[in-house]
């Protein structure tokens, strides 16, 4: 058996750690008990912690996300699993009208220590509405934090940090990476910062910014560009709200050419926000326009066309070249 754990196993270990450490932690979701979730992220947890702490809910996203808010009020710390990206939509009202507003409504006194885990994104040949990338809906909703890990270690560290955060965290899990690679992890995850990006490859000629499954695409593109002699920095954004402004500005200042990649549609996407911040704050340092490689402004296509719609290594390479040659 290969060493290390997959991302989905790391998520499960982090959840186990949180349940072990904090008796107030409770998991809610569809089919997360005996079945261990449709992706097996919670496999074995109900056997370990019992059906009162790892709860198979009725099929009722608005109901159990709303209930998570109520649980927070009485001192519990719920972690909710949404089965697939698009099935968070019934719960959107609870998140937008309540979760994001609670601390504000109490003049800063009480936050809601809840985490909403959302397996998201395309590339798994899934039926309609199983491949959406809805992160921008939440990064545009005040009061919510939005994060996305890109490897097993960051998945575990960010999840324990999200559980400890004290404000609602939308935790986007790039499901196409769930079983992609393995990584060594420590016995215990140390909570990482929730709002720091990470430079995952150093470089000086062009920077590629990405999150979730697109980090892998960015790294592969960097490898190919390196063969052409370009030095490519890759930044894993990790936090989509708030953005790590400091790292973004430093990257633009040091590198001068920036490409942003995401699967979500282009319009009003995270890349648009990055581009806006950079032109507002470090326009003088930009040697090329900030370029975007994104999903299309349309429903995620049925899967025979998904490889064409998803940002690919070649699209990222070509766009980075355009930035380099500008």
């Amino acid at each position: 058996m290969p060493a290390g754990v997959t991302m989905v196993e790391a998520v499960g270990r982090a959840l186990g750690q949180v349940l072990d450490d904090d008796p107030r932690a409770i998991l809610l979701g569809e089919d997360i008990g005996v079945n261990g979730g449709v992706f097996r992220a919670t496999a074995g947890l109900q056997a370990r912690f019992g059906p009162d702490r790892v709860v198979d809910t009725p099929l009722s996203e608005a109901g159990f996300v709303g209930a998570a808010i109520g649980m927070c009020l009485v001192g519990l710390r719920p972690i909710v699993e949404i089965q697939f990206d698009a099935f968070v939509y019934p719960a959107f009202e609870q998140l937008a009208s309540h979760a994001g507003r609670f601390r504000w409504r109490t003049n800063g006194a009480y936050g809601l220590p809840m985490v909403i885990r959302i397996p998201y994104g395309g590339g798994t040949k899934a039926p309609e509405l199983h491949s959406d990338s809805p992160e921008t809906l939440f990064s545009h909703t005040p009061g919510l934090r939005v994060v996305a890990p890109s490897d097993p270690l960051s998945a575990g560290e960010m999840l324990v940090a999200a559980a400890a955060c004290g404000d609602p965290v939308i935790y986007m899990e790039p499901k196409r990476l769930y079983r992609r690679g393995r990584a060594e992890i420590p016995d215990r995850f140390q909570p990482s910062s929730l709002d720091r990006a990470q430079v995952v490859r150093p470089g000086a000629d062009v920077a590629i910014l990405a999150h979730g499954a697109m980090v892998e695409v960015a790294l592969e593109a960097a490898e190919r560009l390196a063969d052409e002699g370009a030095s490519v920095r890759v930044v894993d954004m990790r936090s989509l709200y708030p953005l790590d402004r400091e790292t973004l500005l430093r990257t633009a200042r040091e590198v001068g050419r920036v490409v942003v990649v995401h699967e979500a549609p282009r319009h009003s996407g995270v890349a648009a926000e990055v581009a806006a911040i950079l032109q507002e704050e470090v326009a003088d340092h930009l040697l090329a326009p900030v370029l975007r490689v994104t999903g299309m402004d349309m429903p995620f296509p049925l899967f025979q066309l998904e490889d064409q719609a998803l940002p690919s290594v070649s699209r990222v390479v070509r766009t980075a070249r355009a930035a380099l040659e500008y």
């Binding site: 008990g33 939509y89 019934p90």
Partner: protein, 366 residues
């Protein structure tokens, strides 16, 4: 460890689960024969033939999934009676609102079977002709199709038409808000709608007892002031009659009906699901004898309405039809992404026009 919803006696097949469920096949011999001859041979055989086609489609789809020709697929093995019975109880201009689980009912409306197969292959040619077939696109988000049926039914009434709309759903779907909002709205406005809930006892791994604390989903109807009826979901004749009656009510102007078709999910949730992780494989085996095609065939032969050879031929024809449909998938043309992008708005905005999609950041080739 797991008290609620653990496998237990009451999941075993038995009369008590079907209590209060209308039946034809469960009638004493002479009354069953009588009921079947009242239906008449053409309709009785038509119902069987429709089930045979649905079964053949489902079996072919599972094979195609294993061969990698289509992607993950939600089999409906054992639910053919509910689907065939209901479609044949309605008129062609009535509207159907299927979910993933009724993905091939369009075939009973005249849609070529390769169309729903192409949907599971991820080809946009898999979207059927909604307006010609009066069947909404397959609905994936659970329960979200119920309000659509209410609007179609209510709207038709406002337009002075005599159209009924039927929405399908599962036991799990009755936990979603959209189900309750749809039921209430339909009852309040008197919409000629039918909510046909397939109670197969499971929503993926979640058993009915973790889904609801009423024993009968049909009982939920009383909260909205509409009739709720139960029917044996393995009995195509009973399903047909129950939906026919609900449709007659709707057309008379007496409003919506909730029909609970009681059954058991004999197969996995879908091809990616592994039921042995959460339920005793024995229980599906014990429910096996309720399988609707075998039951219907035995009754038809017993009533003298058909010979085993004739029924076997219907099944063989259906199998051939679906095999041929499957054979047509591989070479089936795939539209370009640019074409699909031009099908999102009536007037395509610049964000999705060809010129935009040929910019280097979007373009795949070159």
């Amino acid at each position: 460890m797991r008290d609620l919803g653990a496998e237990s006696e009451d999941l075993a097949p038995g009369a008590e689960l079907m209590e209060g469920a209308s039946t034809v096949l469960g009638l004493p011999d002479h009354r069953r024969r009588e009921a079947l001859s009242d239906l008449g041979r053409p309709l009785a055989l038509g119902l069987f033939a429709a089930m045979a086609r649905l079964r053949a489609f489902d079996e072919r789809a599972v094979i195609l999934q294993r061969q990698g020709v289509i992607g993950t697929y939600p089999t409906y093995f054992g639910e053919e009676a509910i689907q065939a019975g209901s479609v044949l109880a309605l008129k062609d201009h009535d509207w159907l609102f299927p979910t993933y689980r009724q993905n091939s009912v369009v075939v009973l409306r005249g849609c070529p079977p390769e169309v729903p197969l192409l949907l599971w292959r991820g080809n946009p040619a898999g979207w059927h002709d909604v307006h010609r077939l009066h069947t909404a696109p397959v609905c994936v988000p659970v329960a979200t199709n119920y309000p659509h049926a209410v609007g179609a039914a209510w709207g038709s009434r406002l337009l002075g038409e005599e159209t009924v709309a039927l929405a399908y759903g599962g036991d799990g779907s009755t936990s979603e808000g959209d189900f309750h909002e749809a039921c209430n709205l339909a009852a309040v406005v008197g919409a000629p709608a039918i909510f046909l809930v397939t109670n197969n006892q499971w929503a993926i791994s979640t058993p009915l007892r973790l889904q609801t604390r009423v024993e009968r989903i049909a009982d939920k109807a009383s909260a909205y002031g509409m009739p709720g009826v139960r029917v044996d979901g393995f009995d195509v004749f009973a399903c047909h009659l129950a939906v026919r009656e609900a449709a007659a009510r709707a057309r008379r102007g007496d409003g919506p009906t909730l029909v609970e078709a009681v059954g058991y999910r004999l197969g996995p949730h879908g091809t990616a699901d592994e039921p042995s992780l959460y339920r005793d494989p024995e229980s599906a085996r014990r429910w096996g004898p309720w399988e609707p095609l075998g039951r219907a065939a035995a009754a038809l032969v017993d009533a003298g309405l058909a010979s085993p050879e004739e029924l076997g031929e219907l099944r063989a024809d259906a199998a051939a039809e679906m095999r041929q449909a499957g054979d047509r998938l591989q070479g089936f043309p795939l539209p370009s992404l640019e074409d699909v992008a031009s099908r999102v708005y009536r007037e395509t905005p610049w964000t999705l026009r060809r010129e935009r999609l040929r910019e280097p950041t979007y373009l795949e080739e070159g």
